[in-house]
């Protein structure tokens, strides 16, 4: 087994441990929430006592905590996250349906943010201290500082009428061809994805700038210059190639924050994703759904961190040491 494989295995092991802790943490957290689950579950105020008892039995709330915990683990292992209080459909279905919508929008926003942030960060670092650098860095800092919900609202005002301001697609677009559907989807995507991109771009630009600055000071960059490489090659292939490592880490580490920010973006643009589902689950005290979202989001962050580790080990041969 190579060092890298060992490294990846070790990381996978620790990711699994963290995932397990998260699962347990979420059990404790949601069993500690106030309000007897049965009174929520019934959602009918004049529910007879025996019916409540039946519900408790059905959801296992009448059993001792350890039994509940084991049951919870068993069901989790089967991919059963319980049933949403609101629509009585499996939580997993609910979460997967909404997370798919989120991933598309956030994915595009993040990719744009990373690309633009990288381009701008590298440019700023290359021209460190110049007027262009100051403008770029200043703008990145200001954008980074703006509350995302506020930015979203301003976008909504400015672009209302030009671009759709809510939803994922025009639901009334019947019998549309692929191109028409595609254009419609893209138009709906622009504002929320831009909002996500704006939210992330600042921190990406600043991190790239600072890690690129550090990389530009590395000795091997001087070597590259001595080799007679053009500056473009030195900047991108030599300096940025090592400066992108923190970027990879940041991209995966801030994922938790991305989802957090998504909650706000989705609220502004009525995007039917995981963020909106979270807000509605909070409002309706839909604990099973909330737990499902929390679990899946956390586990996906763990997964992305692991992915980050793997990527890191691929990009930086030293990591495995």
């Amino acid at each position: 087994m190579s060092k890298r494989q060992k490294f990846i295995l070790r990381r996978a092991g620790s990711a699994l441990v963290i995932a397990f802790i998260t699962i347990t943490f979420s059990f404790v957290l949601f069993r500690a929430l106030p309000g007897d689950a049965a009174s929520n579950l019934s959602r009918v105020p004049n529910m007879p006592k025996e019916a409540q008892a039946a519900l408790r039995a059905q959801f296992g709330i009448d059993k001792p905590l350890t039994t509940q915990y084991l049951l919870y683990l068993k069901e989790l292992a089967r991919g059963d996250l319980g049933v949403s209080f609101q629509d009585q459909q499996p939580v997993l279905d609910n979460v997967l349906r909404t997370i798919r919508n989120t991933v598309v929008m956030v994915g595009i926003g993040t990719v744009v943010a990373i690309l633009v942030g990288t381009l701008i960060g590298v440019t700023a670092a290359y021209r460190q201290g110049s007027a262009r650098d100051r403008v770029i860095t200043g703008a990145a800092m200001v954008i980074y500082s703006l509350p995302v919900q506020w930015v979203g609202l301003l976008l909504l005002v400015w672009f209302a009428g030009w671009l759709p301001t809510s939803g994922m697609s025009d639901p009334y677009l019947f019998d549309a061809g692929f191109l028409e559907t595609f254009v419609d989807r893209a138009r709906h995507m622009i504002l929320p994805a831009t909002c996500v991109a704006l939210m992330l771009f600042g921190s990406f630009a600043l991190v790239v700038r600072s890690s690129q600055l550090e990389a530009l000071g590395d000795d091997h960059v001087l070597t590259a210059r001595a080799k007679g490489y053009r500056n473009r090659r030195v900047v991108w292939r030599e300096a940025f190639r090592s400066a992108m490592l923190p970027l990879v880490t940041l991209s995966t580490l801030t994922l938790g924050w991305v989802i957090a920010g998504t909650i706000l973006v989705e609220s502004v643009f009525t995007w039917p994703g995981i963020g909106q589902a979270t807000v509605q689950a909070v409002a309706a005290r839909d604990y099973p759904l909330l737990q499902g979202i929390f679990l899946l989001v956390t586990i996906s962050v763990v997964g992305f961190n692991f992915l980050g580790d793997v990527l890191h080990s691929v990009l930086d041969p030293r990591v495995a040491e």
Binding site: R127, M141, P147, Q149, W150, L153, L213, L216, L255, G256
Partner: protein
């Protein structure tokens, strides 16, 4: 202390501190500064800015300037209190981990890593919904989930302090752990803790606004977050009442920007390697040596 003095020489840090201090002063003097009550209407709903209402009024005719000032009070309170909680936890754990090393460090790093993984805002939402929405709970919830970076930064600093030999020397003179931490570690970590506090203030203000936006703010208090949320709920933007939404957003942005400037400055100060790039668009320049140069 030398570090503190070095930090104060950087214009970005000074600018950041000035911004944050300005809002802190506004927050402290809020009751004096508010021109009108924030509990009752003092004008027409959504009245535009005028001589009587400098920033106009909100949907209920409450003076916006008063709201923003009152908002400063609670937003900054949440910011500082949560930052205090976070720095207290993070600082303690960081010093402990850096000073103790070994199992202490492993444990702290493990716990910190775990908390870093958990997405903060979703957990904050769950906890805020669980605890109930008073300002104290919001402070706790934000503080309890914002200490991780402090731990890492402080731990690293304590490590370098240890390497510089203070600790060994002090110990060889028979000093106890508590004494060493208090006399040798804390003073050197203090400027860092201050910088981290300022940074955490910003993220706490940010998080408060996010929670408020989702409807998890303290309903009995005005904060910048609840002002924005309120503007949303009452469709201030469609009503064309930009004054009901722009000021709190700018306040949040300024505080975040201010503390970010501080953070950025501290990073630059602690990382002097930045600024010696081996490649730049401009090449060296040519100059003719003068007789004086040859002298």
């Amino acid at each position: 202390m030398r570090l503190a003095r070095a930090l104060l020489h950087r214009p970005t840090i000074v600018a950041g501190i000035v911004i944050v201090m300005l809002f802190t002063v506004v927050a402290l003097l809020a009751p004096v500064l508010e021109p009108y009550s924030v509990k009752s209407a003092s004008g027409e709903p959504f009245a535009p800015p005028s001589a009587t209402h400098w920033l106009g009024t909100d949907d209920a005719g409450v003076d916006m300037l008063s709201l923003v000032i009152a908002g400063a009070q609670n937003s900054m309170l949440v910011g500082f209190a949560a930052a205090f909680v976070a720095v207290l936890i993070g600082g303690t754990l960081g010093i402990f981990a850096g000073y103790k090393g070994n199992w202490g460090e492993t444990t702290v790093t493990g716990v910190t890593d775990f908390f870093l993984v958990i997405p903060a805002l979703p957990l904050m939402i769950v906890l805020a919904a669980l605890f109930g929405q008073t300002i104290y709970h919001i402070v706790l919830v934000i503080g309890l989930l914002s200490w991780m970076s402090v731990t890492y930064v402080v731990r690293a600093q304590v490590h370098t302090l240890k390497e510089r030999g203070f600790v060994g020397r002090a110990r060889s003179l028979g000093a106890g752990d508590f004494f060493i931490v208090r006399r040798h570690i804390l003073p050197h970590v203090a400027p860092l803790l201050v910088a981290q506090t300022v940074l955490t203030v910003a993220s706490a203000v940010f998080f408060e606004a996010a929670l408020a936006f989702i409807g998890l703010g303290d309903p009995a208090r005005v904060s910048w977050g609840t002002i924005i949320e309120n503007a949303f709920l009452h469709s201030a933007v469609s009503a064309g009442a930009w004054w009901a939404i722009v000021p709190p957003g700018i306040c949040i942005a300024l505080v975040v920007l201010g503390s970010f400037l501080v953070g950025q400055g501290v990073e630059e100060a602690m990382n002097p390697r930045l600024g010696s790039a081996h490649v730049s668009p401009k090449s060296f320049s040519l100059r003719r040596a003068t007789a004086k140069d040859e002298a």
